[in-house]
């Protein structure tokens, strides 16, 4: 199957094309096209994964086009990382395709939605099997397009329009970094191929400065895509898209592409300490920064969005600390439990028709399936022992402790505490206590929506067991070709992780479950801090005041230069021409003396020119 792995992304592409052409006539049966096609992809991905478990990496390429003597190639590669990503992406996409059949039911543009999902899935699957940087960049941009189209799916809403535009432009800023880094590497290593780049780096053909520079530039691309600080602001706004989209693109797959990119280029990063440190610091800072915003948000999807940003920061921190396996492991488990959380949130939104958690509450009884499923996701992300998030988070903390800076380790611990707190705050506000919502009849979602959530919840519980210090580090061994040694870390790290997560849950329970602590504890004691957090550190406002204004200023400046200086010069030249013409016209006064004089002067000039130049310049 590995040599036919290129078929995997083509199924969703086919779905996209079919639905684009005849989707309008198919109405809601469009869903089946999308579901069947992604299912085929999923089957293919599983087959590839199973084969790759004990087979070497498979790579196929051919020339795409030539630039003079330079040959640009395209193809696909199935290595361990890619095979794992294929399964994660196709599985989540498949489940979201099923879920959307219920969630998007009744929408006018039902088939368009499925078409876009197909386009996105195609691009994402293509991205995770690219053998070279240029091809990665191509799909990198195409997933961006898919994300843009789906964020702006409700195009008639001004917020959706603004969010889609913002997502595209913010990520493009990062993409330019990736583009520059990629081109610089090309001229150093002579190739876009991952293998060739690593070989050149290993052989010392690339200078240390260049390695650091290009690694950091490429990381900027990852920062944009994975919503890391300072390019994170688009991701929470991207929640304007339909919720299944948030689950697929803005939680499980596309936003993890930045982490994937750093992982795919890991040998390059390892060659530069500065680059590694940059990744670790940006990741660690983002983890705590986004988590602190998540503490006070009131929109269910935005809390989850900041949680995603924070968790992606965690993964970056892991990679930057040398925890290759830890980063990928958390990427995998996070894909499952965060997709689960978003789908469950979608189920809640579907039922109560609001996203404001202040207007929810008391849904535990009314949504007997969604509520426990959401709880499983919450437990997993909080790092409660025995669930998937516990193991992957532990792996990250171990990596940060053994290789990273101790400050970063404690930041990660604090972020874990925040995570447990805001996730259970969310849980208690939505499901416990009295109903504060206006919707009269709250129903559990149909089976088409709950089935994918059940599958994900099983994965959220058990997917951690592919890599545990107790039962075996299967994932680590496989990803690194047996070269993985689980660090013998002090066992107190696991204890600390468990304690902070339980403390976070306890605090959330006291404030929002049992309510023995006042809810406005923070907002009344430190209104300033609360406002800063609630307004997301005023980053959006800051960008609008700086970059926004600078861009506008330059534009307007250019506009005036164009209108007055450039046009002014043209007008001046025209005026000079006119003046010469007017002068010439005055010479035509009908007097023979004047004509004689002009003729004589003209002749003199010609003779002088001839005498000096001999007729040629």
């Amino acid at each position: 199957m590995m040599e036919n792995a290129w078929l995997i992304p083509l199924f969703p592409l086919f779905s996209f094309l079919i639905l684009l052409l005849v989707g309008k006539r198919m109405k809601e049966t469009s869903a089946y096209v999308g579901i069947i096609m992604t299912f085929l992809s999923f089957i293919g991905a599983v087959a590839v994964l199973l084969e790759r478990l004990d087979a070497p990496t498979y790579k196929a390429e051919q020339v795409w086009f030539t630039i003079g003597s330079i040959k640009i190639t395209a193809g696909f590669e199935v290595n361990a990382l890619n095979a794992l990503m294929l399964v994660v992406v196709s599985l989540v996409s498949f489940l979201v395709h099923i879920y959307s059949k219920g969630y998007m039911h009744g929408d006018d543009r039902f088939s368009v939605f499925y078409a876009y999902l197909g386009l996105f899935t195609f691009a994402m699957l293509g991205l995770v099997m690219s053998p070279n940087l240029l091809q990665t960049y191509v799909f990198w941009e195409l997933v961006g397009l898919g994300s843009f189209l789906l964020i702006g799916f409700y195009f008639y809403k001004e917020e959706a329009k603004a969010a889609a535009k913002k997502a595209f432009i913010m990520t493009r800023i990062g993409d330019v970094g990736l583009l520059i880094g990629m081109i610089l590497l090309f001229w150093q290593a002579g190739s876009f191929e991952y293998d060739h780049i690593f070989a050149a780096v290993k052989a010392g053909n690339v200078s240390q400065t260049m390695i650091t520079l290009s690694a950091i530039l490429i990381f900027i691309g990852a920062v944009g895509k994975s919503g890391q600080f300072p390019l994170h602001t688009w991701l929470p706004d991207a929640m304007e898209g339909p919720t299944p989209v948030s689950a697929l693109i803005h939680a499980a797959t596309m936003v993890a592409a930045g982490v994937y990119l750093v992982a795919a280029l890991f040998p390059l990063y390892e060659a530069s300490e500065t680059a590694m440190l940059t990744v670790a610091i940006v990741g660690g800072f983002t983890a705590i920064f986004a988590a602190s915003i998540g503490l006070v948000q009131t929109d269910i999807k935005r809390v989850l969005a900041y949680s995603t940003v924070s968790q992606l920061g965690y993964m970056m921190l892991a990679l930057g600390s040398g925890g290759y396996v830890a980063g990928i492991f958390h990427l995998t488990t996070h894909a499952f439990f965060k997709a689960l959380l978003f789908l469950a949130a979608g189920s809640v939104i579907h039922a109560v028709q609001t996203q404001d958690i202040e207007k929810m509450g008391g849904l535990w009884r009314k949504m007997p399936l969604t509520a426990p499923l959401f709880l499983i996701g919450t437990l997993a992300i909080s790092g409660v022992p025995l669930l998937s998030g516990f193991f992957s988070k532990d792996e990250i903390l171990v990596a940060a402790w053994t290789h990273g800076h101790s400050v970063l380790f404690w930041i990660a611990v604090l972020a874990a505490f925040f995570t447990a707190f805001y996730m259970f705050r969310l849980f208690f506000l939505v499901f416990s206590g009295e109903g504060r919502h206006e919707a009269k009849e709250v129903h559990e979602s149909p089976a088409v929506m709950t089935f994918p959530m059940i599958v994900l919840s099983v994965l959220a519980i058990f997917s951690g067991y592919i890599n545990t210090p107790w039962f075996g580090t299967f994932l680590g061994d496989w990803l690194t070709d047996e070269g993985f040694a689980h660090e013998e870390a002090p066992s107190w790290i696991m204890v600390v992780a468990t304690v902070v997560s339980l403390l976070g849950i306890l605090l959330a329970w006291l404030m929002y479950g049992r309510r023995s602590l006042a809810r406005d504890w923070l907002s009344s004691r430190a209104p300033l801090t609360y406002n800063v957090l609630f307004n997301k550190y005023y980053i959006d406002e800051f960008y609008a005041m700086t970059f926004g204004y600078v861009t506008k200023f330059i534009s307007v400046l250019c506009k005036y230069i164009d209108r007055f200086v450039v046009e002014g010069i043209a007008v001046a030249i025209a005026a000079i021409t006119k003046a010469i013409g007017a002068f010439g016209a005055r010479l035509q006064n009908g007097q023979v003396q004047m004509y004689g004089a002009v003729t004589l002067i003209g002749l003199t000039i010609l003779v002088v020119i001839l005498a000096f130049t001999g007729g040629y310049l």
Partner: protein, 508 residues
């Protein structure tokens, strides 16, 4: 394929249409439109045929034509061929690609001309004359013939803008004529100096005479090094008006806004490219030494064009102005590639010439379709059009994506290749240029989303979506843009020989 008259046939077949149109009563709208459209087809079919044959290995030199034409003087010291202007046509891969582009855009613009409201007869006669001029420019074998065809495009364009344009059409037409007239005058001076000094205007012969030391001895009069620089700068200005290079661009803004969109398709798609073509063919081809000295300067001009156009496009209120500045910005990529002066750069520049031809034609075709329904292109008055016209809106977004260089579409390949080239020689300048990539996304999304997304600011109830006859040209263009983006080899292959020749001229 019989080579002897093949190129002439491609160039002059629209003439048949002009003659036939002369006999059609001017009130018969349908007949005129149909005839105008049909008259563009022979060129297109022949050009495509030649292109396919070339891809299959046909030697383009066999298409060359030469007939005696004008002879000056009968002095004893002149040989037979000196100071003779022959009617000579020939093409290489680059020229052939341009001819296919021109013939194709002419056909599609003829379809888009269904929105022309008056005096169809005169319109189509001028339209076909314009096509003859454009096709001839790319096939001309000597400078004087090039100049003649170049001027042939000027006149019909002047009337097409001045008569069938929008409110300020006369001003735009004069502005067009004056700027381009000055450019032409400078070009003519260069051509005449070369002709007077070398005794020939044949392009390949000129190349030989200017660079081969043995041939240099046969010059009628010496061409000093300074003069070569002078001539090169004059060429840069002459074609800089056409391209346009900032600050010689003001005229083309008016043309973009005031001319009928079907004509702007040709103007932006082909006529601007004559500037690039001339710069590559004559600037680089005849004066490689000088070009090399100016390469960095040209790259900087390119970055200026790219950024200046992009920032200005960001503040425009009229969608047509956004596209006009966008054209300026995108021509910056051509200069960036040429300034890099290596394989990647030159290929990127030529790719951009072709790719932008398709993309700008697509966007103006959509402007024409959109204006027909909304009667305005002012961004402030638009919004939410995607609801009433989902297909038009979708195509517009696709066009914007092509223009902002989305991978999988032709614009990406050209932008990427040009930047790849410049990063090798001048990474700092190139890095500054990449700001343009961000700005392009910013201004295009601002403009297009303002039209199609958001709440509707006007009543679209009466509006019907894009019709079948309009969809066909849109799909052809979009299909080609995607085809080149996915399979760039289709362009890279025919251009290979041309680029190699140019690099040889540069001395490696």
């Amino acid at each position: 394929m019989n080579g002897t008259y093949f190129l002439s046939l491609i160039i002059f077949s629209p003439l048949l249409g002009i003659i036939l149109l002369a006999f059609v009563p001017k009130t018969q709208e349908q007949t005129i439109k149909l005839l105008g459209f049909l008259a563009t087809l022979p060129s297109l079919i022949l050009a495509l045929f030649a292109f396919v044959q070339y891809l299959r290995g046909y030697d383009l030199n066999r298409l060359a034509e030469k007939h005696n034409w004008i002879h000056f003087g009968k002095f004893s010291f002149l040989t037979e061929s000196t100071f003779a202007v022959d009617y000579e046509l020939n093409v290489d891969g680059f020229a052939l690609v341009m001819i296919v582009l021109t013939a194709l855009l002419a056909t599609l613009a003829a379809v888009a001309s269904i929105h022309i409201k008056k005096e169809w007869k005169g319109y189509f006669m001028l339209f076909l004359l314009l096509e003859i001029g454009m096709l001839g420019v790319f096939a001309a074998g000597n400078l004087l013939l090039f100049f003649i065809f170049f001027e042939i495009t000027l006149i019909p364009m002047f009337f097409l803008i001045g008569k069938w344009g929008y409110f300020e059409k006369e001003k735009a037409a004069y502005s067009y004529l004056i700027y381009n007239g000055i450019g032409s005058a400078i070009l003519l001076i260069v051509i005449l100096i070369l002709f007077a000094r070398t005794g020939t205007s044949n392009i390949s012969l000129l190349k030989e005479m200017l660079h081969n030391p043995a041939a240099k001895a046969q010059l009628i009069a010496p061409i000093s090094n300074d003069l070569q620089y002078g001539l090169f700068i004059a060429l840069l200005v002459a074609f800089g008006v056409k391209l346009p290079i900032v600050p010689l661009h003001r005229w083309m803004l008016r043309v973009h806004v005031q001319a009928p969109p079907s004509i702007v398709m040709l103007h932006s798609g082909v006529l601007l490219k004559i500037g690039a073509f001339g710069l590559i063919r004559f600037g680089l081809g005849l004066f490689p030494e000088q070009f090399r000295h100016f390469a960095l300067f040209i790259a900087i001009l390119g970055v200026v064009n790219l950024l200046y156009g992009a920032f200005l496009a960001f503040t425009q209120d009229d969608f047509k102005m956004v596209l006009a500045y966008s054209s300026i910005s995108h021509m910056g990529i051509v200069l960036i590639g040429l300034g890099a002066l290596n394989e990647a750069g030159i290929q990127g520049a030529i790719f951009q010439v072709v790719s932008h031809g398709f993309i700008s034609a697509l966007l103006f075709l959509l402007v024409s379709i959109f204006y027909e329904r909304a009667h305005t292109t002012m961004l402030g008055n638009l919004g939410g059009a995607a609801k009433a016209m989902p297909l038009t809106a979708g195509f517009l977004l696709a066009g914007a994506m092509a223009s902002l260089g989305l991978p999988g579409m032709s614009g990406f390949i050209s932008e990427f290749t040009a930047f790849l080239g410049l990063f090798k020689v001048a990474p700092i300048i190139a890095a500054i240029g990449t700001i343009g990539i961000i700005m392009t996304a910013a201004y295009l999304l601002r403009a297009v989303l303002n039209i199609t997304y958001g709440t509707a600011k006007r009543d679209y109830r009466e509006v019907v979506d894009i019709q079948v006859i309009e969809i066909v040209p849109v799909l052809v263009l979009l299909g080609l843009i995607i085809f080149i983006g996915v399979y760039p080899h289709i362009l890279a292959h025919p251009l290979q020989a041309t680029i190699e020749t140019m690099l040889d001229g540069l001395g490696g």
